[in-house]
């Protein structure tokens, strides 16, 4: 979706302002926000793509005025309500009410190291031959889906060159919406900066994205 998250090339956000010797966490609640998000995800009722989509469907004004952990928590609340674990009334009151959905799993402390070390690999074997080869010129599709997608707006309808052909990966555009993994090959596609930003762009700039096969057409 053309949401607040799709930031490439937007202007007006001010300086990057890196913080010297930045700590991993700026407040105790940030630690709990990280942990709650990972523990809730470990119940196994939604995937990373649905999580990302929950974050990008925050109202733009809310997204831009929230810190990243705030975005996580606001999205997590949506996921928990959507999947029947908590109600809006519980969140409003701060009190646990009656039981909701039964979780598939509850992550225990002893299982945390193994869970994090395993991660969530999303490579999938693809039998069909790749549609594109390294060196091929491709054009990204001009598309504006209302749902989740990982093709940024600034790269839509642009001509680039396939640099690397990867294995198959779970397709976020379906997986975010409970429509299955539908794995497709992913390609690293490189664009000249001027193809994206026009003649005034830095001539020494190239930008690449990792694009699922259905995002691309021959050019």
């Amino acid at each position: 979706m053309n949401g607040a998250q799709d930031l490439g090339g937007q202007m007006g956000f001010g300086p990057v302002a890196p913080e010297k010797d930045e700590p991993y966490f700026h407040a105790e609640w940030e630690k709990r926000a990280l942990g709650v998000t990972l523990c809730a995800g470990a119940m196994g009722h939604w995937n990373i793509d649905e999580s990302r989509h929950a974050r990008e469907t925050l109202h733009p004004a809310d997204y831009y005025s929230s810190s990243y952990y705030e975005i996580w928590i606001k999205a997590l609340e949506k996921l928990l309500v959507r999947h029947g674990f908590v109600t809006g009334g519980e969140l409003a009151s701060g009190e646990a009410g009656s039981d909701g959905t039964t979780p598939r799993r509850v992550l225990k402390a002893a299982d945390v190291p193994a869970m994090l070390a395993r991660g969530g690999p999303c490579e999938r074997e693809i039998q069909a031959a790749p549609r594109f080869a390294a060196g091929d010129r491709v054009r990204t599709r001009n598309m504006n889906p209302a749902g989740h997608t990982r093709l940024p707006r600034y790269t839509r309808g642009r001509v680039g060159v396939v640099e690397t052909v990867h294995e198959g990966f779970v397709f976020p555009d379906t997986n975010a919406h409970g429509k299955g993994e539908d794995p497709q090959r992913v390609y690293t596609v490189v664009f000249d900066g001027r193809e994206i930003w026009g003649a005034d762009a830095d001539p020494s700039l190239t930008v690449s994205i990792d694009a699922w096969e259905s995002y691309l057409e021959p050019a």
Binding site: Y24, G35, L38, P103, A109, R118, G120, V207
Partner: protein, 208 residues
């Protein structure tokens, strides 16, 4: 500011700001309902606060500087080469290492969210996840680098890697001159987090 504080202090009697209170309430509800175990949260925080961080990535880079066969492996199959040093898992399942060269500087961003190689760099800094960096890195990378105090020589090409899929990128900065014969441990001290994102170069020996 003063008014805000008075207003805030009026209707709650603890010292939590609204977001802290919201997170605490959520954790409490989920714990009471048996959906999460607070001890698991403690374990997650301990790992990301104390055990996983950019020292992991620095070991990878130092080994690649010191060992050409390892560098070749890292270039060919970064996931396996990095796993051989014990660094695996969440947000590092599918790794790619991209090597700076005299004519090419690499910079990594995630314009769509905050994708970052946790297994080798730990949790991302706030700036990496925030709109200024995510918006600007792909259209004005030299402007971004200037904010980090980095001016690349004329003639250096910039390649920006937008992490739009599940591949996670580790920049391998160029090995500084004057480090011949250094141990991997000593070399690793020159490898900063930012040099592995691309917003800095490796430190020079005299500043290490």
């Amino acid at each position: 500011m003063h008014d805000d504080h008075d207003h805030d202090g009026h209707h709650h009697d603890n010292h939590l700001d609204p977001t802290a209170a919201r997170v605490k309430a959520l954790e409490t509800i989920l714990t009471r309902k048996g959906l999460i175990d607070p001890a698991a949260i403690d374990a997650i925080v301990d790992i990301y606060e104390n055990r996983i961080g950019p020292r992991n990535g620095a070991k990878v880079v130092a080994k690649a500087w010191d060992d050409q066969a390892y560098a070749d492996w890292l270039k060919r199959d970064a996931t396996a080469a990095i796993a051989s040093l014990g660094f695996t898992g969440r947000q590092g399942e599918h790794m790619r290492a991209v090597f700076n060269a005299p004519d090419t500087h690499n910079l990594v961003v995630c314009t769509l969210c905050s994708c970052y190689p946790w297994s080798v760099l730990g949790l991302p800094p706030v700036w990496y996840k925030s709109p200024p960096y995510r918006s600007k890195a792909v259209i004005d990378p030299r402007g971004v680098l200037a904010e980090f105090g980095l001016a690349l020589p004329d003639g250096t090409n910039i390649r920006v890697w937008d992490s739009t899929a599940e591949l996670r990128y580790l920049v391998v900065p160029m090995r500084p001159a004057g480090t011949t014969g250094w141990s991997e441990e000593r070399l690793a001290d020159l490898v900063t987090r930012d040099s592995m994102i691309g917003t800095a170069l490796a430190r020079e020996p005299e500043t290490a």
